[in-house]
Amino acid sequence: MTGILAAVCIAILVVMAIALARAFKAPTVYDRILGVNMFGTKTVLFIAVIGFLMGRPDFLDIAIVYALINFIGMVAVLRFFEYTSPIE
């Protein structure tokens, strides 16, 4: 089971790296936000998996905080766009 969990960990890291690449270089500003959002949700899963891999389930508390903060960050970005034009 540890092997599967480790493989899942590495696969999620790969997805995070791809989302990070999208946030680095994006055709529109919305794509950047999409990359950041995907990075956030994958981070939640990563922490949950790594908590089981290391046998430290109290990591789950941090996963909850991540999920929450990620959502609030998204709402703040949308609110910010009400003030300024999103097009660069």
């Binding site: 999208r22 949700t41 998996v49 789950l60």
Partner: protein, 110 residues
């Protein structure tokens, strides 16, 4: 290997398959609205499958409750965030590929 472990492994592997395909879609799809589709749909299914796989690893205690909480939270917030983002992009004046270059689309369908 226990039966539950096998089911859990299958769920986890299916989850990372969807996660990876969503990441590929983030780069491969032609316009923003198809990309947000790829990212949001796979995000939800990957979260369901991976957390479902982890749920089978717990022994039904506080950790199970926390995992269920994370799952519910992600199931509500992640599609909402994608929806609001797409809506905001539409209001901001972003067009679909078909709207920006109609002649390209016709070439594709031929």
């Amino acid at each position: 290997m226990l039966f539950l472990d096998i089911v859990s492994s299958i769920l986890l592997l299916a989850g990372i398959f969807f996660g990876l395909s969503g990441a590929v879609g983030l780069f491969r799809f032609p316009d923003f609205f198809t990309r947000v589709h790829a990212a949001s749909v796979t995000d939800s299914i990957a979260a369901i499958l991976i957390i479902g796989g982890l749920l089978l690893q717990t022994s039904f205690d506080l950790n199970t409750a926390k995992l269920v909480f994370i799952l519910l939270f992600l199931m509500v917030t992640s599609p909402t965030a994608s929806h609001a983002l797409a809506k905001s992009a539409r209001h901001g004046g972003l067009l679909t590929l078909a709207e920006t270059r109609p002649e390209d689309k016709q070439e594709h369908t031929q």
